[in-house]
């Protein structure tokens, strides 16, 4: 029995162990409290003042595109920065997610709200997901300008649209009808399934095809989504060819989609046999127009979009417009613009690009 010895108490290692755990929790609590209280005391002096908005000439503007590092976006933002400078903003910022997803823009809006930015210009990835954040920004005094892709109208002051949505849709339908000789199967290769602008155009296209007797022999067989991703769009285009052997034409109302589709067509046996049109950047489409894959496509000048958005923001921040129908504001060298129905500002008509004129454009 001696082997199993009587136990004698010693040490208090267990207490130390418990203490360690308590210390861990305590440290977390402390760090949180530091954010919440200790540091927050400084908020009154540094943070609070700015959020109320500096009324003088010290206005700030921030552009939040759908995603950074996208060539189309770069052109738009280039125009935006130019516009912001001309309009007299003291500070211009460009922030945004690296991937275009619905929710990724929210925390950027939040940060801008907190930064007390006066004008937020946004191209929404999802019309509703950004809503609550934009409302918070507005209640903190910011003016919201949507551009390129609209938010739900209740969350913004004005929407700077490329063109009348219906107009851009009709042009594309007309182009494809000409290119396929007015009869045959066509398909649409869009960006993301939730993109507001895309869906609106597609809706108008469908209506036009159904109602206009000129297009009665054209059949829209499907709409696919390339998610504005080069690889995905490429493979969607390829899939279309296989699934619909009688396909005569494709409309791709997105710059990424049309370029990827053009690349696929130009490297396949379908080159010259299947027509392609839509909205594209001349710089990206130049080789495909020259090699005959694409005969004609359209786009507005994206730079103007950003440019007008900046001036609209300035006018809103200055209080010269409220975003009501009929308001007008001066948009630098582009002259006067009017706010239309639903707070929409139209920038201008799209340009149609062909082999003859494409070299005149550089964007």
């Amino acid at each position: 029995m001696e082997l199993i010895r009587n136990y004698t108490k010693r040490g208090n290692t267990g207490k130390r162990r418990a203490a360690r755990r308590i210390a861990s929790f305590a440290a977390i609590a402390t760090s949180l409290a530091l954010i919440a209280t200790g540091c927050a005391s400084g908020a009154d002096t540094s943070g609070g003042g700015e959020t109320s908005g500096d009324a003088g000439g010290d206005l700030s503007i921030t552009f939040i595109p759908k995603q950074l590092n996208n060539p189309y976006t770069d052109v738009v933002l280039g125009g935006g920065e130019e516009g912001a400078e001309e309009a007299g903003f003291a500070a211009t910022e460009i922030v945004g997610p690296l991937e275009a997803s619905a929710s990724s823009q929210v925390s950027f809006i939040n940060a801008e709200t907190q930064a007390g930015t006066n004008v937020i210009v946004i191209a929404a990835n999802d019309p509703d997901a950004v809503g609550p954040a934009l409302e918070e920004a507005r209640s903190a005094g910011a003016k919201i300008v949507a551009f390129d892709s609209d938010t739900n109208p209740k969350y913004r002051d004005v929407f700077i649209s490329q063109v009348v949505a219906k107009g851009v849709a009709l042009i594309q339908v007309k182009l494809i009808a000409e290119q396929i000789g007015g009869a045959g199967e066509i398909a649409i290769l869009s960006a993301t399934a939730n993109a507001t602008n895309q869906n609106e155009w597609i809706k108008f296209m469908e209506e036009e095809l159904a109602s206009n007797p000129e297009y009665k022999d054209i059949k829209l067989v499907t709409t696919v989504y390339g998610d504005d991703d080069d690889t995905k769009s490429f493979q969607e285009a390829q899939g279309l060819m296989q699934a619909y052997p009688n396909l005569k034409g494709i409309i791709s109302p997105t710059t990424v989609g049309i370029a990827a589709t053009a690349r696929y067509l130009s490297t396949s046996e379908y080159k010259g046999k299947v027509a392609l049109t839509g909205l594209g950047l001349p710089n990206e489409m130049r080789p495909f127009v020259k090699d005959g894959t694409v005969t004609e496509f359209a786009l507005w000048d994206p730079a103007q979009l950003g440019y007008v958005a900046a001036f609209a923001g300035k006018a809103l921040a200055d209080g010269t417009i409220t975003g009501a129908e009929g308001d007008t504001f001066e948009a630098g060298e582009l002259g006067e613009r009017e706010v239309g129905e639903g707070g929409v500002v139209i920038v201008g008509p799209p340009t149609q690009f062909t082999a003859d004129n494409i070299d005149e454009y550089d964007f």
Partner: protein, 370 residues
């Protein structure tokens, strides 16, 4: 006195002999003494504590260096941003401690979100919608758990499969649509703050979940079993731990909490879509590993993981406020992740090298020659 005490005496004797030998300074620990820190050093230098210091230091730095960071508004926005990661990281900690992994969490969140949208659109009562969505998460987790614990497949492979499957089902359920018209009272609740503190109201729920998993892991028989299980499945079996049952419920746990994260996501952004929370799985795992959980299992704690999540979240928000590109965030996250695992190895290697050098110098050099 018995033989056993004699053994002890013999051991002591052996030690004494060794101590009397020439290389006295290094031989005295020959048989029994282990290594490790005790007491205060253990608390203050532990992995958890270091993570927490890192969070505190960074918060202080951000308060000073980044204008407007020190504000209750920060607390609100920051927490709203980290909640999904924080939520999923909690059960993920338990899963990784048992040596498994769940890559399908973000897809489950997406599936839940899609389902919410469709059910709500179909006109169901919001309460029913929430319950059914949660049930979907539980089922998705149970499906993972079944394949891993019952069929016995490797979790890494299974959850790569269900990552695609659940996201695919989300697409099947809701397709291209986005449902946005959730009741404003509810979506409002999910972005509201607790008075002037800036702390989001939903944090109450998150704290409850965190406490649940913290207590479960650190203070219950089940949690004790998980650590044992993570180190050695066989040894755990021998003390009566029901290995497969534990794993099954853990995957149900990640499924359920992922569903909560999916619901949160949907209501916070008032948008139910199939691609919600996509790609979140790697962020969660990065945060958990940064929080000191060993990918091999057996090591890690909830406080450490919370600190890991907060560190990434805080850096993220500070960069946003400083209008520094996400590019920096990506690189910082990756570097932190690698540094957090490489640093201890390098430190240990350095200590060993120093020790070896010291020992070599202190011992008589008979050889080796090349």
């Amino acid at each position: 006195m018995s033989d056993s005490t004699r053994t002890a005496a013999a051991n002591a004797n052996a030690n004494a002999n060794a101590a009397a030998a020439p290389a006295a300074d290094t031989t005295k620990t020959i048989s029994t003494l282990g290594k490790g820190r005790t007491g205060a050093a253990r608390i203050l230098l532990g992995r958890d504590a270091i993570m927490i210091y890192a969070v505190v230091v960074f918060v202080l730095y951000a308060c000073i260096a980044i204008p407007r960071f020190a504000s209750p508004v920060t607390v609100g926005f920051l927490l709203l941003d980290v909640i999904p990661v924080l939520l999923i990281a909690l059960p993920m900690t338990l899963v990784i401690i048992t040596g498994e992994i769940d890559l399908s969490v973000a897809s489950i969140a997406g599936l839940t979100s899609a389902l919410m949208g469709v059910l709500w659109e179909a006109g169901l009562d919001i309460g029913t919608v929430l319950v059914l969505s949660l049930v979907a998460g539980v089922l998705a987790g149970a499906f993972n758990g079944f394949l891993i614990a019952v069929v016995g497949l490797p979790s890494l492979a299974v959850t790569i499969g269900t990552l695609a499957l659940f996201r695919g089902l989300a697409l099947v359920v809701i397709g291209d649509n986005a449902v946005a018209n959730f009741p404003p009272e509810l979506t409002g609740l999910f972005t509201s703050k607790l008075g002037a503190t800036g702390i989001p109201t939903v944090m109450i729920g998150v704290v409850v979940v965190a406490l649940f998993f913290g207590v479960l892991l650190h203070m219950t028989p089940f949690g004790r079993g998980l650590y044992a299980l993570g180190f050695s499945k066989e040894a755990a079996t021998f003390v009566g731990i029901k290995v497969n049952r534990a794993k099954f419920w853990l995957f149900v746990g990640t499924g359920s909490v992922s569903a909560l994260a999916g619901i949160y996501w949907t209501l916070r952004y008032s948008s139910a879509r199939s691609d919600n929370a996509s790609g979140l799985e790697l962020t969660v795992i990065a945060a958990v590993l940064l929080g000191g959980v060993s990918i091999f299992g057996g090591k890690g704690s909830i406080p450490g993981v919370i600190a890991g999540v907060l560190l990434i979240g805080t850096i993220n928000y500070a960069l946003r406020l400083g209008r520094i590109s996400d590019v920096v965030l990506i690189i910082v996250t990756g570097t932190l992740l690698i540094a957090s695992v490489v640093a201890p190895s390098i430190f240990a290697a350095f200590t060993r090298w120093q020790h070896d050098r010291r020992v070599r110098r202190s011992l008589p050099q008979a050889a080796p020659r090349e």
